[in-house]
């Protein structure tokens, strides 16, 4: 048994084809499970494994699935894979889908079987052309082998799987906006309750999970919950695809045990800071997480540990802020992205983020005013809490801003007092 289940098939640039995938233990879990184990047994294993969603929120997967009504037999149930990987700085799902597409297909077959879904969709980011193509090839190959489609392996279980390319909005990564988009409607997040487990795609019970989450299912089913729990170093189970981007020596993505210390990820795997640059801070889990500082380097990458430090593990893909990048400019860029990607549904996000962006832009360009900081603080409180808004986009967008103001507030004030960006040689440019 490997300690890197998610990446064990990834070698070189070429994707693992069906033969290679099967040669390395692929579809054994499907053969051993479909029609042989009950869905409730499978659900118990998933619950027991303590797997938490890898898309960013870290919600326990088994608990999520347990809300799917299992008593009703009529009508469709859906399993949707959220492959709309658009969180800035995040590129982990792409690695799996491009290099080992069968891993996702097998994970989805097992997951669908557990919740008794008969139709699956992989909702994939618009720009992931290669991944979409390879997934379609994998689906066709699996179908030919009888792993997918009608009467899987002669067991009488049916599961059709489709790949749907997104039209390209960040908000489609929000699971209910994704469902609306899949239905051909505006990608506005839905109000919850009702949750998708009860009324999801086309009003039917639906589970939406991240690529990495679904891939883990295969290995948990194959190797058991205890094995999976043992993979983690701390409280959380399993491994995780961690990534680092920014001015480090070798940015990249690695499969490491849950609870790996941040320092190890940045210094050992990413090779430490590039020459001439010092670490000033980092966003631990993508653009919509709070800044952490060098003093947090020894924290373990575990959901609850990072939460206690005031941030979120998010997607586990860090963005580095070095000492030669203006934190105001960085936050301005992030807010500009989120303001642009707002679906325009609720007031705080739709109108609040552009205002924040304009204030940050004026501060960065030497036109900031002291009351701008008051407004930013007020807006951060107004936009920053889930429940204030219809979904988590705006609260996520505010996290880097609020933490930047907390940790680098003096630099914001310096911009305003000096009427220029101190990182810039020229006035008004960075």
């Amino acid at each position: 048994m490997t300690d890197k289940p998610l990446t064990k098939n990834i070698k070189g640039d070429k994707p693992a084809d069906l033969a290679a995938y099967e040669a390395n233990g692929g579809y054994v879990a499907v053969r051993d499970t479909i029609g042989k184990k009950s869905s409730s047994d499978l659900l118990d294993i998933i619950k027991d494994s303590n797997l938490r969603g890898r898309g960013g929120a870290g919600f326990p997967t088994g608990m999520k699935w347990s809300f799917v009504p299992m008593d009703k037999t009529e009508g469709h149930k859906y399993l949707v894979c959220n492959a709309d990987e658009m969180e800035p700085g995040t590129f982990k799902d792409r690695v799996i889908m491009e290099k080992d597409p069968h891993q996702l297909v097998e994970g989805m077959i097992l997951s669908a079987y557990t919740i008794d879904a008969d139709i699956g969709y992989i909702f994939i980011r618009a720009e992931y052309h290669a991944a979409a193509r390879r997934l379609r090839e994998a689906i066709n190959a699996a179908k030919e082998k009888g792993y997918l489609g009608e009467n899987i392996l002669g067991t009488g279980y049916n599961f059709e799987l489709h790949v749907h390319s997104s039209a390209g909005r960040y908000i489609c990564g929000e699971e209910t906006a994704l469902l609306n988009s899949l239905e051909g409607k505006r990608a506005n997040p839905r109000a919850k309750p009702p949750f998708p487990q009860v009324s999801g795609l086309w009003g039917r019970p639906t589970i939406v999970n991240n690529v990495e989450t679904l891939c883990n299912i295969t290995h948990i089913v194959a190797n058991g919950a205890d094995w999976f729990k043992d993979l983690g170093l701390g409280e959380d189970s399993g491994t995780k695809l961690f990534g680092v981007s920014g001015r480090v020596k070798s940015p990249g993505c690695w499969e490491l045990p849950m609870g790996t210390p941040i320092r190890e990820i940045i210094e050992d795997h990413a090779g430490g800071m590039a020459d001439g640059y010092e670490l000033k801070g980092f966003l631990p889990g993508g653009a919509s997480t709070d800044f952490l500082l060098p003093e947090h380097l020894d924290l373990a990458m575990d959901y609850d540990v990072i939460m206690k430090a005031g941030s979120r593990m998010g997607t586990g893909t860090m963005i580095i802020l070095d000492d030669q990048v203006c934190p105001v400019a960085m936050v301005r860029n992030i807010i500009e992205f989120f303001a642009r990607e707002s679906c325009g549904f609720c007031t705080p996000c739709r109108d609040g983020l552009p205002w924040v962006h304009k204030i940050l832009d004026s501060i960065e360009n030497g036109r900031g005013e002291p009351q701008g900081m008051d407004i930013l603080n007020r807006q951060a409180a107004f936009l920053g809490a889930i429940g204030h808004t219809n979904c988590a986009l705006a609260p996520g967008a505010i996290e880097p801003l609020a933490s930047a103001m907390k940790y680098f507030g003096d630099e914001f004030n310096q911009h305003i007092e000096e009427k220029r960006c101190p990182y810039s040689n020229k006035n008004g440019a960075n």
Binding site: P193, E341, C343, G344, C346, P348, P354, I375, N390
Partner: protein
């Protein structure tokens, strides 16, 4: 019920509500935008935030959107606390960032929900210093203006237009801070209920163009509670006037009739009141045939002599005049000489309707229609003939969705969630009509000729009674109706075919034996068809008279050319009482100028037998008077109705002479009614400029006209706020200047708005059982039959006199399939003539969805009377050989162009 604690006080509220509904119902001033009492919650504006505490020990609480949070027993809430009010202040500040500072020139100003909510939320100083988002506006047609820069993105417009009323040409485009609500390109909004956007929009994005044409602020309007006369449904409206002109019509909430919404004919069709065609003075035609204006005194004395000398007098009533005027005319000429003035066909259908109303069959209100879970429409074009009913049927088909939601424990106010859950699930609706129907999209449209619709109806009735039916459509209709808990049959006079109505009655009779909840709704052509039909079963005299008095009735719409000409030739003196010049007044010898609905009180009996009183907003000019008032004065001169002086007296006479109409007395409070000892003011308390109206003549303000006939007054003196709902001249409450203030008067959200709002149902004696009616559907299926096609814009006599409405009316056409066309020897681009040449030419258009043998013709001023002739028979339609097609005639139908 549930107990909730709000800022320390405990209340009992309905636990099926959300917190916003409960709090508004308690009278809390809690601002909101996207929630609408009829459309439920969305959760997009985030304005109605309150703080909810876990328990007594929770000191922090969390911000929740009250519209998205169900009432739970024991909930502890803060509405006015700092945390909640700070959030709301921040929210409105953000909401207002891009909103222009154009209130002084915005038509919504002074009745703007956004203004009210901004003030309520406490935001006053704008700190935003950057450029605002701007949009290009669109031309949306003659009714509705578009000013997107004012939009606050509450999504109400698209929810009303698309989700609620089924329109598909208004949508939200774009995303983020640039969401645009409009059409893909400029063009007339296609939905017949688009006008509600004016009231649904919380600010000035969608405005009433017919008001813009002579704009005035709400506070300068003089208004009255009136009843729409555009069709037989009797929707409640607020009609508003300034400087002697009707400025606009707004919805007036009635929980049993129109609720919160009107159709566009009703909303934009009142402009005829201001028409240049109004008859301004009394007049007598002189020896040279020229009309001369005379005084009221002169004309009355002239009439007195005329009537005393006459050996024979007939009175022809009106389906659009008040019950009171019809009664006064009946009294004047005597029952034997009084005719309803309906077409023969409409009289027959109205008489069937009266039989139904007087039986144990159930006639539902529009509110009850929305509860029905299977609907069969038999030959009735609801959208064009009784439009507001179509909107209610659109809600009825959602009962399947509501049932699914209840099963999934999703509260019905969670509108988006209910729609997502149900997707396309709908309660059954069958539309049996002769041409495409707007409701086809939400049900099963079945195209048949009128004769075949009647036959299908008979088969359905037989099927319900247990006869096996071969036809699959009939089987599924029978199954849907018998399985429903509240089945509804809708029919009416739009096809001008009494056999269809009889068949519908028989279906309802058969169904009622199995299910007492069965409803039957019959729609007639006019606002007061039932009143006229009730007073006389005879539609039209066969012989002439020395004096004929025609009350508010353009007879050329109901009696076809030659017959009318013959009759007129036998009448020595034709006396017309009407408001607008028409083809009868132009042939009269004596005319009395009548007030319109906007200037007179009157009782209207709608198609469910509901008597409702309508009040005028202003006193008409000069000698113009309500028709009932003219007739009362003429009666007095003949020593009739002596002692009857006021409107209430006349109503009393009607009640004592007609037991089944006595309920009309209680339709509204009488003239002696007072609130806090005061009359009810038609003008707002901040009415400005009244003293300046005649300042160019005299600085002394003249005495306001008095209203002795109602409890309303032509003044800002008096009270409006505490008046009962049905008597409210306009809706306003402190801090609530827009129509949203209605929630301040409802006993609960969307409940009844105080006493007296809902009218009185007449004909309530339902002890008699209706036997199955004899039916004789036309047997000659090889003959060509003409089916009238109603148009919401253009078919109604009076509203068609408004420029905006008329601009959307069709030209005369004949719509038929190619087989029928070849039988008649015509092709697209040719023309047909009705009734062997009397009626106007109809441009032939081909549509193969039309049943064979049917020729669909629009109901228009020039065609209407001919469409009520017996419809089957050879030689009814002939090719118009003299027709010269317009240069672009080949291109009438776009689909023809390619072939």
């Amino acid at each position: 019920m549930a107990k909730i604690t709000v800022d320390g006080r405990t209340f009992e509220v309905d636990d099926s509500d959300n917190l916003l509904e409960a709090l508004l119902g308690l009278g809390e001033d809690l601002p909101y935008f996207c929630w609408h009492p009829e459309m439920g919650s969305l959760g997009s504006c985030r304005q109605c935030a309150v703080v909810q505490y876990m328990d007594e020990n929770d000191e922090r609480g969390r911000v929740v959107m009250s519209c998205m949070t169900p009432v739970t027993d024991g909930a502890i809430l803060s509405v006015q606390g700092e945390k909640a009010s700070d959030f709301r202040e921040s929210n409105i500040e953000n909401l207002m960032l891009n909103h222009p500072h154009d209130c002084p020139v915005c038509e919504e100003g002074g009745e703007c929900h956004l203004q009210d909510m901004t003030v309520m939320s406490g935001h006053k100083d704008r700190q935003y210093k950057y450029q605002k988002t701007t949009f290009n506006n669109q031309d949306l047609g003659p009714f509705i203006g578009h000013e997107m820069n004012r939009c606050i993105t509450c999504y109400r417009c698209v929810r009303f237009y698309g989700d609620y009323s089924g329109g598909d040409d208004l949508a939200a485009f774009g995303s983020r801070g640039r969401v645009f609500f409009g059409r893909t390109e400029d063009g007339v909004l296609e939905n017949e209920f688009a006008g509600n956007l004016v009231e649904v929009c919380p600010t000035g994005v969608f405005t009433d163009k017919t008001l813009s044409a002579h704009y005035t602020r709400k506070w300068d309007l003089q208004s009255a509670p009136a009843v729409c006369t555009g069709c037989s449904l009797g929707c409640n409206i607020t009609v508003s006037e300034r400087y002697g002109e009707v400025r606009r019509v707004h919805n007036r909430y009635n929980s049993e009739v129109n609720g919160y919404f009107l159709c566009d004919r009703g909303r934009f069709g009142a402009g005829y009141v201001n028409s240049d065609d109004r008859i301004p003075y009394c007049g007598i035609r002189d020896a040279n045939g020229v009309y001369e204006a005379t005084s009221a005194e002169d004309i009355l004395s002239h009439l007195k002599t005329l009537l005393s000398d006459a050996k024979s007098v007939v009175g022809i009533g009106s389906p659009r005049s008040s019950l009171e005027a019809n009664f006064a005319l009946q009294t004047l000429v005597g029952e034997d000489n009084f005719y309803s003035g309906l077409s023969a066909v409409e009289a027959e259908i109205a008489s069937l309707q009266l039989q139904v109303l007087n039986s144990d069959l159930k006639t539902p209100s529009l509110a009850e229609v929305e509860d029905c879970d299977a609907v069969l429409i038999l030959g009735e074009d609801t959208t064009n003939h009784a439009p507001r009913l179509a909107l209610s049927i659109r809600q009825a088909v959602r009962n399947e969705a509501k049932d699914l939601a209840k099963e999934a424990r999703i509260p019905l106010w969670q509108d988006a969630a209910v729609r997502k859950l149900a997707q396309d699930a709908k309660s059954p609706l069958f539309v049996l009509t002769s041409s495409a129907d707007r409701l086809d999209g939400i049900g099963t449209g079945i195209r048949l000729s009128s004769e075949d619709i009647a036959l299908a109806g008979i088969n359905i009735a037989n099927g319900i009674d247990g006869t096996a039916e071969d036809d699959a459509d009939i089987q599924s209709i029978v199954e849907a109706l018998t399985n429903a808990s509240k089945p509804l049959i809708v029919t009416g006079s739009s096809s001008a075919c009494p056999e269809i109505v009889k068949a519908a009655v028989n279906i309802a009779t058969a169904l009622s034996k199995r299910n007492a909840e069965t409803g039957l709704l019959i729609c007639t052509d006019e606002a007061n068809t039932l009143a006229a039909a009730r007073l006389s079963e005879k539609p039209f005299p066969t012989t002439g008279a020395d004096v004929a008095i025609v009350l508010e009735n353009d007879l050329s719409l109901r009696v076809a050319g030659a017959t009318l000409d013959d009759w007129l030739a036998q009448v020595t003196s034709l006396v017309v009482i009407d408001s607008l010049d028409n083809s009868i007044s132009s042939r009269s010898s004596l005319v009395l100028p009548a007030a319109t609905f906007a200037e007179a009180e009157g009782t209207y009996i709608n198609n469910e037998g509901r008597a409702q009183r309508s009040f005028g907003a202003f006193k008409p000019k000069g000698d113009i008077a309500p028709a009932w008032d003219w007739l009362l004065r003429i009666c007095h001169d003949q020593n009739l109705l002596t002692g009857v002086e006021q409107f209430d007296d006349l109503l009393g006479s009607i009640a004592s002479a007609n037991e089944d109409l006595a309920g009309a007395v209680d339709a509204a409070p009488n003239a002696a009614f007072r609130v806090h000892g005061q009359k009810i003011s038609r003008m707002t308390h901040r009415s400005s400029g009244r003293t300046a109206i005649v300042a160019d003549v005299s600085l002394h303000e003249p005495k306001q006209p008095e209203d002795n006939n109602s409890a309303l007054t032509y003044s800002m003196e008096g009270t409006n706020q505490d008046s009962p709902g049905g008597m409210k001249a306009y809706t306003w409450s402190p801090g609530w200047n827009s129509n949203q203030s209605i929630s301040k008067y409802q006993n609960e959200i969307s409940g009844s708005a105080g006493e007296g709002t809902r009218g009185v149902k007449l004909f309530v004696d339902s002890s008699s059982q209706l036997a199955a009616l004899e039916t004789s559907p036309g047997g000659n299926s090889s003959a060509v039959s003409v089916v009238p096609n109603w148009h919401i814009f253009g078919s109604d006599e009076l509203t068609n006199r408004c420029e905006a409405i008329h601009s959307l009316a069709p030209s005369p056409y004949a719509l038929l399939n190619s087989a029928t066309a070849s039988k008649l020897g015509v092709k697209a681009g040719d023309a047909l003539k009705l009734a062997a040449g009397e009626a106007p030419s109809l441009a032939v258009m081909l549509d193969d969805s039309i049943a064979e043998g049917c020729v669909i013709c629009p109901v228009l001023e020039e065609t209407r009377a001919y469409l009520h002739l017996p419809t089957a028979g050879d030689g009814l339609l002939v090719k118009d050989e003299s027709w010269t097609p317009p240069a672009d005639a080949e291109n009438i139908i776009s689909s023809d162009r390619s072939s």
